[in-house]
């Protein structure tokens, strides 16, 4: 294990490159933005989980309260959910770091033992999982204990210990699943249309389920009958599950001071066995993959004869973008599937929003304002994909510079491709909203124009930002696996602009609600805001896009 520290240092350097001062400041900006996003997500979780906890702890069965049982059930099920999340993230992390990252090919040819490489990579995965786990467990436990008035020094200390140790068990389970998952991914990944269709169906299913659950929850919260969801039969099932969902039930018991010694003993034994199994399995799998060179070769379906099609030169660039995205499952999921599902998500959200606002505002209608805000919001999230337009080309971006295309042709092909998908998605969303009566046809047209201008501004801004600071992947296929500071900036700027436009559109409502005065609708002002603000943003984005464009493109260097 003489090289273990060196290899671990390499992992650290890969994650936090110590480049020039400007590069460091760009990275720091990315981390700050990612931190702001994470803080937002945690804040939302704390608010929702706190409300749910106080409601859940009051549930009575046959009019008999049982606070201790409710506390145990809630903690046990929450830890079970966390373990599932860590198994999923563990499998993807193991696959990427052990099988997909191109550094493995170099490392195995160097004088390091496979166990040293494996140990360093596993340690790094564990450190990342532990950091995530600590954040999740802290948010979960502190919210729970604060709501249940159970905060104590013991709870805080145990929260820290469990937060750090929790990933051991999911990683052990993930280690068993990593190779089958890798093989399955390769197998499905080679059938591009199949994997794309599967992902779209999954996403639609998830969206419908989310809408169904949210509608039920909204109805129950609105009527104050949330507790009726948890009837005797449901509560008995939850209790039975909570008692036997090892090892989550043990952690819940430790946290609540229930049979602490026994639970710690069993948990330690499970941790030790898990760690041993995890180390053994991953080591065996890793050695096999690296030393015997398993590379899953999927035979391609043969077509008869050669077909030559002639496209226009510009159409050729668009087709290249399409092939790259469609044949990279993660890109196809992020972009096409999200764009396809966007109209459904917009419909679900507008439906819920209309019901919510209807209850709040009575007869005053804000359909246009609400629908425009929702379409802008979802299209903004779809367009986040443009923030890797340049980066995802990897060395291809350099190869393209030797072809007889001008920078304007290459970049406009990228933007047009993004624009076509985005436009179709926005159009489908507006038609859905108009057809379902959530807004009038005339309003839908203005919503469409507003979202179109907003999408164009976002695509131009994201493409140029990525050109300024590309983050090229180091994997064999150049696939971008992780988000970067550009993605964080685009998400934050997109969301901020959407909410700013939303606030302007709904300013009468907000003002009325705050002051308690009569709420009125001013459609003309809403139209003006919906069109003028995106237009101003488009002008700003266009100016940003064209400044020094040729020089920056000429200096683009995927190896620099």
């Amino acid at each position: 294990m003489t090289h273990y520290a060196l290899l671990l240092k390499k992992q650290l350097f890969d994650a936090f490159p110590f480049g020039s001062k400007s590069a460091r400041s760009k990275n720091a900006l990315g981390y700050i933005l990612a931190g702001i996003l994470a803080a937002g997500i945690i804040a939302a979780f704390v608010i929702i989980f706190s409300r749910f906890t106080s409601t859940y702890l009051q549930i009575k069965i046959n009019r008999v309260p049982n606070l201790a049982a409710r506390q145990f059930e809630l903690m046990s099920v929450a830890y079970f959910a966390l373990i599932i999340v860590f198994i999923i993230t563990g499998v993807t992390q193991l696959c990427y770091n052990l099988f997909e990252n191109s550094d493995i090919r170099i490392l195995i040819s160097m004088p390091f033992s496979s166990f040293e490489i494996f140990a360093a990579k596993l340690t790094w995965i564990y450190i990342k999982q532990a950091a995530l786990s600590l954040a999740c467990v802290l948010a979960l436990n502190l919210t729970f204990f604060a709501t249940a008035n159970l905060i104590s020094a013991y709870n805080v200390i145990m929260t820290l210990i469990i937060g750090i140790l929790l990933p051991v068990i999911p990683l052990a389970i993930a280690s068993v699943l990593a190779l089958p998952f890798y093989y399955l991914k390769k197998l499905i990944g080679s059938h591009y249309l199949l994997s794309f269709a599967a992902m779209t169906i999954l996403l639609v299913g998830f969206c419908l389920l989310y809408n169904y659950a949210f509608t039920i929850a909204q109805g129950l919260i609105g009527s104050g009958k949330i507790a009726s969801l948890f009837n005797e039969r449901v509560m008995n099932n939850i209790h039975s599950f909570a008692v036997f969902d090892y090892p989550a039930n043990l952690i819940a018991g430790i946290m609540l001071g229930k049979e602490v010694g026994k639970n710690i003993g069993i948990l330690l034994a499970i941790l030790l066995v898990s760690a041993a199994v995890g180390l053994l399995v991953i080591h065996k799998v890793f050695v096999r993959v690296t030393q015997t060179g398993i590379s899953v070769h999927i035979p391609h379906i043969k077509r008869e004869g050669y077909r030559f099609q002639k496209r226009s030169r510009f159409g050729n660039l668009i087709a290249k973008e399409f092939i790259t995205v469609l044949r990279t499952p993660s890109y196809a999921y992020m972009y096409f599937a999200t764009a396809i599902v966007m109209p459904l998500m917009a419909y679900c959200s507008a439906n819920l929003g209309t019901a919510f606002l209807g209850g709040l505002l009575g007869n005053v209608r804000f359909d246009f304002e609400l629908c425009t805000f929702i379409v802008l919001l979802y299209s903004s999230l779809t367009n986040t994909f443009c923030s890797t337009s340049i980066s995802r080309d990897g060395y291809m971006s350099m190869a393209q510079k030797t072809l007889p295309y001008s920078p304007a042709q290459i970049l406009s092909a990228k933007m047009l491709f993004s624009g076509i998908v985005s436009e179709l998605s926005i159009l489908a969303a507006c038609i859905t909203l108009a057809a379902s009566g959530l807004e009038s046809a005339g309003d839908a047209v203005v919503t469409f124009i507003s979202a179109t201008i907003f999408a164009a501004s976002q695509i131009a801004f994201a493409t140029r930002l990525d050109l300024n600071h590309p983050h090229f992947s180091r994997t064999d296929d150049g696939e971008i696996k992780e988000t970067n500071s550009t993605v964080s900036i685009i998400i934050l700027v997109g969301l901020t602009m959407c909410f700013a436009i939303g606030m302007l559109l709904m300013q009468n409502t907000i003002r009325g609600l705050i002051s308690g005065t009569e709420i009125t609708s001013d459609k003309s002002a809403a139209y003006a805001y919906a069109l003028c603000v995106p237009l101003a943003l488009l002008a700003a984005s266009a100016a940003f896009f064209f400044v020094n464009l040729k020089k920056v493109y000429a200096n683009l260097d995927s190896e620099g």
Binding site: H300, K302, R303, Y306, F308, L403, A554
Partner: protein, 267 residues
Amino acid sequence: MPTTNAQQAIENEDTPVIQIEGLVKQYAGAEIPSIKDFSLTCHAGEIVGLLGHNGAGKSTTLKCLTGMLPFNSGSIKINGYDITTSPVKAKFTFGFVSDKHDVFVKMTGLQYINFMADAYNVSKELRAERFEKYDELFGLGNRLKEPISNYSHGMRQKVCMMGSLMHNPKLWILDEPMIGLDPLTSEKVANFMKEYAAEGNCILFSSHNVHSVQKICNRAVVINKGVKTDDFRFEDFDSMAGSLEEFFLARTTENKYTDDSEQGEEN
């Protein structure tokens, strides 16, 4: 709008295919230039080998020549077109094979060849005709229907060569072309290069392999630490004493050994 045929793009047959004058390239953050005052003129019918050790500046020169990288000073003209002021016209007249082949891996070999043919606006008939010719030369056959991600390094090299030749470029530029090719294909490619140059085209390729340069080229340019040290035709070189390898080592290793020893002391 540039024409599809590289031949037509050249306004004057006497125009040098490559005309590099006083090229200087310094990477951002580097203390010294990677290429210093490099000049080179190549004509139709020539096969020029750019010889140099690793890090001598061969790839950087080719990257500047093909418009991949900007340069600090000097000028580059390809078939009469300035790569800085008329980049698209210049690029229509050459084909480039990079030393990195991890590109367009999501396409099948056929899709890549079609992509390249479309980029250079090659007609359907001409691409079918040229495809037949190069398919026979490189022998990828049915593997062309597979995604490039499934290809070995050598197969990627071959498909990149096929793609770069689809528009029958007046200038064919290759960065370390023989690495990864099997002996049979290397032999075929070497013979093809000679035939291609004999048709009035020019070939420039970089290599650190003295033997392949001597076997294929009729002219060699030696570059060391970004500076052109020698430029000679083999017909002149034959009259000199010693082998090309000895000459190359004598011209380039003196400084290299000095550097190595300095590095060794630091270590």
